[in-house]
Amino acid sequence: MFKSLKIRIAITAVVCLAAFYFLIPTFISNIPSPWSQYLPKEKIHLGLDLQGGMHLVLEIDTDKALEAMVERTSNNLKESLMENKVRFRNLEKAKGATISMELTDAAGKTVLEKVLKNDYPDLEIASTTTRDGGQLITLRINAKRAVDLKKLTVEHSLETIRNRVDQFGVAEPEIIPEGDNRILIQLPGIKDPERAKNLIGKTALLEFKIVDEENSLDEALRGNIPEGDIIAYGTREDKSSGQKGQVPYLLKNKTLLTGASLETAKVQISDRFGEPHVSIKFNSQGAADFDRITNENVRKRLAIVLDGVVHSAPVIQERISGGQAQITGNFTMDESRDLAIVLRAGALPAPVNILEERTVGPSLGNDSIRQGILATIIGSLLVFLFMLVYYRLSGVVADIALAMNIFLILAVLAAFQASLTLPGIAGMLLTIGVAVDANILIFERIREELRTGKTARLALDTGYDRALITIIDTHVSGILAAIVLMFFGTGPIKGFAVTTIIGLCVSLFTAIFITRVIFDYFTRNYNIKKLSI
């Protein structure tokens, strides 16, 4: 390596200063103003297991999004076919995101093919079976389009969740896609994990539907649901007893307007009861639609349905122009605030499932930091003491290298903004055990050389030279194992792998380079005849 001792001392000094530079914010919390602009701002990041927080892996049910699209397409197709005077029956969405239908007219298929070609390029005919005069036809979304749609669904969900988390107000959230249809979310320091989960996982599909008052609700509940109607439920709380009950509604299935037409939503407190509700404002198209819908349905009831639950179904007294409406219900302040957030951020294009959740409360995180630091200090002290007793002054040199090792690992973590986790602390402690190995190898070698009668200077040189290749081999194999671990690992385990890799790289520098500088400095300047080893 570098022969000149001066250059080597300079390199050591530069590395130490750089490490010190990156660690200043971690150890000094308030840097006075003229200095602060020249120094890095970031402290060492603590992992979720140390500072508390939530780690979530969500799966987006992209199949559901595909099915919803097929459902919409089948409704549109019905109208198109009627316009084109094709005679058909039983057109409906079938299993596995397909549409099944029966053409009753032999000539129908040519027209159907033309309609598909002109207006529904995404649809293709999957199968045709001839059956007494008519044809049974199955349509499906073509494969490329289905893949695109799924991809789009994931992107849209990611965007929506980002919006929601931003508005919820979490410091430094991490939201990244994983694999085909998964999203990884990390929310450090979250206080109310349940609320955050509800906020993120809620589909928040807002729909406006007309209540069917021409047909009997009782009859429908007995199982005779009129064509084009559905039954939906709302909750009602009895104010005096506090008991919650379900109220059924008979609704026209057709959705007149959705949350997609909203411009904004905000929490307001009602004047009369002081109860919070969410007031919504439609965008210009939405407002025009709302105007038309209310005009056409005066005296009827308009149900406001959120994720299939009827929140309220007020009677439309008169045409409403201006595009304002209110969603009431028995909301708490937090609930209405969260509802406003999800409405503003928009609905998720598909339902999400929680695949993995790891939440650590802040108190456990504090305990872990305390115990982790305690274990590191005691573990390092044991090693320091052992080296001192066993190798005396040379042990002191090794100990200096070890202290540098810890210091540099922390500096690298701070510089690269990697997180320190509990397994990371374990990794650091282990690196101390392994890093000292390099020095043990060297020292044992030097002792062997001294036994053969070599001078201190020569024994030192041979010892370092002979041990070097072994040390590189052991470090490389350790780094290999840690790299495997890093690619496999999730969250905390990755922290273990990362600190181990950093630790091993740093140890190559501290255990070989720095200790050599110290030895050379003293043997050259003080004419040492006998090594204390």
Binding site: D367, A375, V383, A426, L430, D437, I440, L480, I533
Partner: protein
């Protein structure tokens, strides 16, 4: 005089005791496998099997039975409840709550009803079975991949027969740690997989140091019998092998005692791995080079 744990010039006949070491290792591994069969397989943690762990701390004295009573007629009725420090408990269930509301209904509400607000949920881990299957696949791949990576590296740096000895030792270490985990009836978690891979890295470390020495002695003295060379190399590096293992052992012991309950199983498995990693270096990895010598004669000796 310097302090010396191992006197220079020590000459223990490791190679001669190879047969007993092999039998000893085989017995240990069989005991481990027996324990796994006895327990009806490994005890997979939620990382692999899917399920939930909820860590709850109470601000007053509570027994596991009181918690069980509180959770009666919820989905957590059949969960295992384990004391985890003073007034702190782990509730484990195979149920994985993918619906955000389920946790509140099955844990929060019944606990609040029974203990008012005198508890704090400190940690929740939920892993769906789908993710669990993913982790299992990845864990197996990772362990095998780390064997392969090291096999290739050692083959490149030394010779195949040395690498084979090293890998034999690594497989040995992996099996022993898995056996120990089963005997202690510990959960097999992702942390344990991390231990396996670390032990693989640590054990090959020792092996490489000794292999390096074998190579050096062969160069110095090409006529010497291989069994003697191996013995000499192990003896010459013995002091370093034991010292390094000792320092790693000390740091792990500190972690085991002071690191807290969350990391205790991890530290325990590491301790076992360190001890057996060192043992396997001396008795398995290096001595078995002799076995492979019969399959593929040395190139080094001819140099």
């Amino acid at each position: 005089m310097s302090m010396e744990l191992i006197k220079p010039g020590i000459n223990i006949d490791f190679v001669g005791k190879m047969k007993y070491a092999m039998i000893f290792s085989a017995v240990l591994i069989l005991i481990g496998i027996g324990s796994i069969i006895f327990h009806g397989g490994l005890n997979p943690g939620i990382d692999f099997a899917g399920g939930s762990i909820i860590q709850v701390k109470f601000s007053k004295n509570i027994s596991a039975d009181q918690i069980r009573t509180a959770l009666k007629s919820t989905k957590l009725e059949n969960s295992t409840i384990q004391q985890f420090g003073a007034n702190e408990f782990l509730i484990r269930t195979s149920e994985s709550f993918s619906d955000p509301k389920m946790l509140e209904v099955n844990v929060g509400q019944p606990l609040s009803a029974a203990f008012n607000k005198e508890y704090e949920i400190r940690r929740v881990e939920v892993v769906g079975s789908k993710v669990g299957a993913d982790f299992t696949r990845k864990a197996i791949i990772a362990v095998i991949l780390s064997w392969l990576a090291i096999l290739i590296y050692v083959t490149w740096r030394f010779e195949l027969r040395y690498a084979l000895g090293g890998i034999l030792a690594l497989v040995h270490d992996t099996l022993i740690v898995i056996g120990a985990v089963s005997i202690m009836n510990m959960e097999f978690t992702i942390s344990i997989v991390a231990v396996l891979i670390f032990v693989i890295g640590f054990s090959i470390n020792d092996t490489i140091v000794t292999l390096d020495r074998i190579r050096e002695i062969v160069k110095r003295n090409p006529k010497q019998k291989l069994s003697e060379v191996i013995n000499l190399a192990i003896n010459e590096t013995l002091s370093r092998t034991i010292l390094t293992s000792l320092t790693v052992f000390l740091t792990l012991l500190a972690l085991y005692i002071f690191g807290g309950a969350v990391i205790r199983d991890f530290a325990f498995a590491m301790l076992v791995g360190t001890v057996f990693g060192t043992y396997s270096t001396v008795y398995i990895a290096c001595t078995s080079v002799l076995l492979f010598e019969k399959l593929q004669p040395s190139k080094m000796k001819r140099k």
